[in-house]
């Protein structure tokens, strides 16, 4: 296991390098001069020259990259041009809100997806099974941001059960209950597509496992059906599910951008979009870097979990 961990950690290096190159490139693929784009059409020549020097844009690309990397490794992501504050603190503060949202969506999609998948497999062709097939078709076709708006219209505007946007109530809020009530609609919106994917995959692997000999043996021994499904079949069916859950975790972090915008959730996604519209490149780079790092870490965690569940992986 230690060897596996070491090898897996070594793989993180090249990926991080690639991530850093992409994030660095964000500033440099722009067809014009980034300094000009950031300052807008009214900027004077001196302003542009000053910003170019400030950002180090007058040096060769390789030097710029090395400088930038060096600063990033020391935790300096630069200053936001728009908020006039260090990027790192702002991004990390907002990232917490994104993690809260993505984690609760991951929890809902994983638990809900596995439960729905197991039930659909155990009662194949039942009404529930058909509904779940329909839901997965809808889940793949529905724009998540639209689902968010629909849920908001129904549950916040018409029924008035839940708050429509934000993370806490503007006055007198701040407790856990307040957070949870604000969390419900964004979580459901973000989790919906992943939930249906996890459910379909769990169903098909469960059906596969339920047809195997050891399950028949267990049934022949007279083991209760619920025990067969949960203890014998589910544990074996979980392995492919874990991989998909890992992939989905990444999508949830990325997809959170859209959901955050719908519900005005104060996460790193809304910050990034504001940064792009304000042409604040350091801020955008910081946001992309932090989300991508989160994605890499999640994938690492999933691989470790995968190896724990399935001893065969460790020996490969």
């Amino acid at each position: 296991m230690a060897l596996f961990l070491l090898r897996r950690l070594l793989l993180v290096g090249p990926v991080l390098l690639g991530v850093s190159l992409v994030v660095f490139a964000v500033l440099h693929i722009s067809p014009g001069d980034p300094a000009e784009i950031m300052l807008g059409p009214q900027a004077t020549h001196e302003d542009i020259t000053r910003l170019r020097t400030e950002l180090g844009l007058d040096e060769p690309l390789a030097v710029q990259y090395a400088r930038w990397m060096g600063r990033v490794l020391q935790g300096d992501l630069g200053r936001s041009l728009w908020m006039k504050r260090p990027v790192l603190g702002e991004v990390l503060r907002r990232f917490q809100a994104t993690v809260v949202l993505a984690a609760s969506a991951l929890l809902l999609s994983t638990l809900g997806g596995i439960a729905l998948g197991v039930l659909s497999a155990a009662r194949r062709n039942s009404l529930l099974d058909r509904l779940s097939a329909l839901a997965s078709l809808f889940g793949a076709s529905m724009p998540s941001f639209w689902l968010g708006i629909v849920l908001m219209v129904i549950f916040a505007l018409w029924l008035g059960w839940l708050p429509a946007s934000g993370m806490f109530a503007p006055y007198g809020g701040g407790g856990v209950g307040d957070l949870l009530s604000h969390l419900v609609l964004p979580t459901v919106t973000l989790a919906a597509a992943s939930l249906t994917i996890i459910a379909r995959l769990t169903r098909s692997t469960m059906l596969d496992v339920l047809g195997q000999d050891f399950v028949r043996t267990a049934r022949a021994k007279g083991v209760r059906e619920s025990f067969v499904v949960v203890r014998h079949a589910l544990r074996n069916a979980l392995i492919p599910t874990v991989t998909v859950v890992g992939v989905q975790a990444g999508y949830l972090l990325g997809g959170a951008v859209l959901t955050e915008t719908v519900f005005a959730w104060p996460g790193v996604g809304t910050l990034m979009v504001q940064g792009i519209l304000a042409r604040d490149f350091p801020l955008v780079q910081g946001c992309v870097l932090v989300i991508a790092l989160g994605f890499v870490l999640v994938n690492l965690a999933v691989d470790v979990l995968y190896a724990t569940l399935d001893p065969r992986i460790r020996r490969e």
Binding site: P14, V15, G18, V19, L21, V22, V23, A25, V26, L27, H28, I29, S30, P31, I37, L137, F138, A140, S141, M142, P143, S144, F145, W146, I149, V150, M152, V153, L157, G250, Y251, L253, G254, G255, V257, L258, T261, V262, M272, V273, G275, I276, L277, F281, V284, V288, I291, A292, F295, V296, N299
Partner: protein, 304 residues
């Protein structure tokens, strides 16, 4: 072993004699298939209708999609003269939806085609040439897949600047690894097959072998991937437009219509619900048709 068993599995079901000519046979397969898969037929019908509406928009008796009439803003559906109501500037919703279909459908097809083209070139090069070309191309693909793809698209748009064209470029770039991997895998296995070896032994050049012998085998899996991808690309383009990074006002596009409508959802939910419904229906239709195509073209999944 009983002789009457095969019908049960469906796998070994007796086939009609193959004496009929190819075209008639594929017609009969299609008909049988259509009878079994009504949903796919429904999807194809919806898709055809949407495409026709979009293509014929300039000739349809619609209001001008960009004419502002502030006196008649946010009218509900079924208002005389505005069957689907009006938006926050009093523009006709039906006209904007139909004109928006042009942008959304075209963006979906064009970005998927862009991804397909880049992926095909990468995949064929990596699979057929092997060596360092393969290592480099596949590492690029890996790094791109290490990002959540909407995030990468957003990052590229951040660099290029917001706008529909840039958003489409970003989505096309971000989408190519899917095709590169698929094509590389196929080419790797085809490369070793006897007919390729035979062509090579006969003195066929690489270019000829690629075009005449390998490409025809790639068509059906790539078509299936493409048909399922167009829907995903429409969703992605709409998503970027929704964030304000794609289509810019006043051009109608389903994603940007949703974005501006969000502020008026309290007053008139229809301005936000209709464009989303349009995206949903079209992408659903595309997925139904794509699934059916996969079943039809890939015999391995036909039974399931």
């Amino acid at each position: 072993m009983s002789d009457a068993a095969p019908a049960a599995s469906g796998l070994a079901a007796p086939r009609a004699p193959v004496a009929i000519d190819g075209a008639a046979r594929s017609r009969s397969v299609l008909r049988r298939y259509a009878g079994r898969n009504r949903l796919a037929v429904l999807g194809a019908g919806l898709l055809l209708a949407a495409t026709l509406l979009a293509a014929l928009a300039p000739w349809l008796p619609l209001a001008d999609p960009d004419t502002v009439a502030t006196a008649r803003r946010l009218q509900p559906p079924l208002t005389p003269g505005h069957p689907l109501g009006t938006d926050e500037f009093g523009r006709d919703m039906l006209a904007r939806l139909v004109w928006g279909a042009r942008v959304s459908l075209l963006a979906g097809v064009a970005t998927a085609a862009g991804s397909l083209l880049i992926g095909l070139v990468f995949g064929v090069l990596a699979g057929y040439r092997g060596g360092w070309a393969e290592t480099i191309l596949m590492r690029i693909t890996d790094v791109m897949m290490a990002f959540p793809y909407i995030l990468l698209a957003i990052a590229i748009v951040a660099g290029l600047g917001p706008g529909l064209r840039n958003a489409m470029v970003a989505i096309a770039i971000v989408g190519f690894p899917l095709y590169a991997r698929l094509v590389r895998g196929l080419v790797l296995s085809l490369r070793e097959r006897e007919f390729v070896e035979a062509a090579r032994a006969l003195g066929g050049r690489d270019r000829r072998i690629l075009v005449r012998h390998l490409l025809p085998h790639l068509i059906s899996p790539v078509v299936v991937a493409f048909s399922l991808d167009v829907g995903a690309k429409i969703l992605a383009t709409a998503g970027l437009s929704f964030l304000g990074l794609g289509t810019q006002p006043p051009t109608a596009d389903w994603g940007s219509m949703l974005a501006t409508a969000r502020q008026f959802v309290v007053l008139r939910p229809h301005v936000a619900l209709l464009p989303g419904l349009a995206i949903f229906v079209v992408v659903l239709a595309l997925n139904l048709v794509g699934d059916a195509l996969r079943d039809l073209l890939d015999p391995r999944t036909r039974q399931s």
